[in-house]
């Protein structure tokens, strides 16, 4: 018995090896290099090279200089996650419980946009929301937007783009959770005189929480780091932290600051995720 257990354990580690080697090579080593770069002397340049200076001041500098874009990233990410949750939950609920024989077709439709490139999907919103486009003209006619109002190059367009792009990441885990729910439990809540509303909040919602947690994580994490939506759908006033990292790295060749920003963003997201998962009480998900 105990021999068998030990062998099973050893095989487990063997099975872990490829993934561990992969992570070591493509995550640990680059991350270590990234952290090291973030502590370089920021006055270096490509001509003179960069020296390790343990310049922890880089971190203080980026917090001071780029609090605005950091805040915008978190705000846009959070709003997009919230809208995805509301839209995605309704959709996933409908697919899981009400779609009947259309279920598979609807699931394919949720994933279908993924067959085109992320960039093309984002750029097509430029056409849809164009200043002379149908959407803006209609909203102007309805007096929702002023005569000179616009959607493109506003925070609205950025959050809408993020919501659109990451919606499937929310719908699929939600659907997986909802689909597993035993219908007899919901019927039982009805038998115990819970109205459908109470039944939802006492039975369906708690049982779908694992899907909610993984869906929000899968949406929030990439949405905070995304800068393509801000770049194409936002104006110069909607730049997010990803834009700053990109331009500090490629345009300004300011590798220490770009690295410090990347590390900080990573730590920030990790901390928020840990707190969130703790509070949601679904640690077994990780």
């Amino acid at each position: 018995m105990s021999e068998g257990v030990r062998r099973r354990g050893r095989i487990g580690y063997l099975l872990l090896l490829p993934a561990a080697a992969w992570l070591l090579l493509f995550f640990v080593v680059p991350f270590y290099s990234l952290v090291a770069t973030s502590l370089f002397d920021p006055s270096g340049s490509d001509f003179r090279g960069y020296e390790m200076d343990y310049a922890f001041g880089n971190y203080a500098d980026v917090v001071r200089d780029y609090a605005g874009p950091f805040g915008r990233s978190l705000l846009y990410g959070a709003l997009a996650t919230l809208f995805c949750l509301v839209l995605g939950y309704v959709l996933a609920y409908a697919i899981a419980f009400k779609s009947g024989r259309w279920k598979n077709l609807l699931l394919v439709l949720v994933i279908a946009p993924f067959f085109t490139s992320f960039l093309v999907r984002t750029l097509s919103w430029k056409l849809i929301l164009a200043d002379d486009g149908v959407v803006v003209n209609t909203l102007q006619a309805l007096q929702v937007l002023g005569d000179d109002g616009r959607l493109l190059a506003t925070p609205v367009a950025v959050v809408a783009g993020l919501t659109y792009n990451f919606l499937p990441f929310m719908v699929l885990p939600l659907y997986a959770s909802l689909d597993k729910i035993d219908h007899r439990l919901i019927e039982a809540s009805g038998d115990l005189y819970a109205n459908p509303f109470v039944g939802f909040f006492k039975v369906t919602w708690p049982l779908s929480l694992p899907g909610v947690v993984s869906g929000t994580l899968l949406t929030f994490i990439p949405a905070v780091g995304d800068y393509i939506n801000a770049q194409f759908l936002g104006s110069t006033n909607e730049r997010v932290i990803g834009n700053v990292i990109q331009s500090q790295f490629t345009d300004a060749n300011n590798y220490p600051v770009a690295s410090a920003l990347s590390v900080l963003l990573m730590v920030l997201i990790l901390a928020m995720v840990l707190v969130y998962v703790r509070r949601a009480g679904t640690e077994e998900l990780l």
Binding site: M1, V5, R8, G9, G12, Y13, Y32, S33, A36, T37, F40, S43, G44, S45, D46, F47, R48, G49, Y50, E51, M52, D65, Y66, G68, P69, K126, A130, D131, D132, R150, L152, A153, Q231, G234, S235, T236, N237, R239, N243, V244, Q246, S247, Q248, F249, T250, D251, A252, N253, N254, Y255, V257
Partner: protein, 397 residues
């Protein structure tokens, strides 16, 4: 007990392994902190004299070029300059359209050229300031003067003596152009100056500026009353403040690299800072688009052919350069790409091809126009780093 025993054990030991691994890694990092890999990045300066490859042009009749998009006449056309080169020299050209942005291309090749490794290209095309930086870094091979006689004979005088490469030792302009303002005359009246572009209230939220620092800041320095060719740090900050104000006032839609004319044709943008050749090409489809020479003056730039270190077909590259400095070839190219032709004598050849282009000052500028141009100051390493960073902070902050 025996049922849940194994599960608990394996959980514990897995956690133990993780903890142990973490501790070992931490100890290792702490001990090795004296001298670790990645703990410095050496300077990227190279010496082109020692960092060169054997030229195999004699044995291999081939040539690898990286250029910008829309910068050559259609290569499938049997009468194209490209086919002509193949026929007259027998050299097979691998022509890649993989330069989108100077800074981006620099980031792509920096690691190789900075450590004297080949980038598998024989000729690359970079804008003046980037060409200057690469030559300064020692990444570019000098051209053999004897192999490019037409370059030295036919280049326009105004392009001859650049402070960063006097005597054309390392570079040969491919095309030149002007930076100015384009606007859509169907939706807005004429825009006379750069100052109007960044301040006029009726343009609010409907303009774009170019994301190249020297293009945009050159004009803003002019607006601030400074000379872009020779400015002080205070003047730089005055100009940058103008830009910050324009952004705070939401005057700008965005900073654009290459796609600004789509926005202008599409109607989201009514006016923008633009490059002359792009505008002429766009005018064929949309005659409402106009190019204006701003009152502040004109910024004249060139995109330059450079032979990077470790290129293996330098002699073939020099044949290419020499071929394109033949006025007849240059005129044919100019009639297609519509940028300023850097070759003297091409104007006469253009008469035979398309006489409507001969008097276009944006392809063959006269001396009056050229006397009104300004250059951007040559920046040293520290200034360049500082200004590029401050620029990036404003444009992406």
């Amino acid at each position: 007990m025996s049922q849940d025993g194994p599960a608990r054990r394996s959980t514990l030991s897995r956690r133990g392994v993780l903890k142990g691994g973490g501790a070992v890694a931490f100890a290792g990092v702490s001990v090795a902190a004296l001298k670790l890999p990645f703990f410095s990045v050496p300077g990227a300066q190279q010496d082109p004299a020692s960092c060169r490859a054997r030229d195999v042009s004699e044995e291999e009749m081939s040539l690898v070029i990286s250029n910008w998009t829309g910068y050559i006449d259609p290569r499938k056309d049997p009468k194209s300059t490209w086919k002509g080169f193949r026929e007259s020299t027998g050299i097979k050209v691998d022509y890649n359209v993989d330069v989108n942005d100077n800074a981006e291309f620099y980031a792509k090749v920096k690691n190789q050229l900075g450590s004297c490794d080949p980038i598998d290209r024989d000729l690359i095309v970079m804008t003046d300031w980037m060409a200057a930086r690469m030559i300064g870094l020692g990444w570019i091979q000098p051209l053999d003067k004897a192999n490019v006689p037409q370059l030295h004979a036919n280049i326009l005088d105004s392009l001859r003596d650049k402070p960063w490469d006097p005597g054309l030792e390392h570079h040969a302009p491919w095309q030149s152009g002007l930076t100015g303002i384009a606007y859509n005359s169907a939706v807005t009246g004429e825009i006379k100056s750069f100052e109007e572009l960044v301040t006029r209230p009726d343009l609010k939220g409907k303009i774009t500026l170019l994301s190249e620092m020297r293009d945009t800041m050159g004009f803003l320095l002019k607006v601030a009353g400074a000379d872009p060719g020779d400015f002080t740090e205070d003047e730089w900050h005055d100009a940058l403040d103008l830009l910050k104000k324009a952004i705070a006032d939401k005057q700008l839609r965005s900073f654009a690299g290459n796609n600004y004319l789509q926005e202008l044709s599409g109607g989201n943008v009514v006016a923008c800072e633009a490059w002359s050749g792009d505008v002429i090409q766009a005018q064929f489809e949309n005659p409402d688009i106009k190019f204006v020479v701003p009152e502040e003056g004109l910024s004249l730039w060139s995109d330059n052919m450079l032979v990077p270190n470790q290129a293996t077909h330098q002699a073939n590259a020099e044949k290419w350069i020499d071929y394109y400095y033949d006025p007849a070839v240059a005129a044919k190219l100019a009639s297609w790409v519509n940028y300023i032709c850097p070759v003297a004598g091409a104007r006469e050849e253009m008469e035979k091809i398309d006489s409507s282009l001969v008097d276009n000052p944006l392809i063959f500028p006269d001396d009056d126009l050229l006397s009104n141009t300004f250059d951007f100051m040559d920046l040293d390493d520290r200034q360049n780093a500082q200004y590029e960073r401050e620029w990036a902070d404003v444009t992406a902050g």
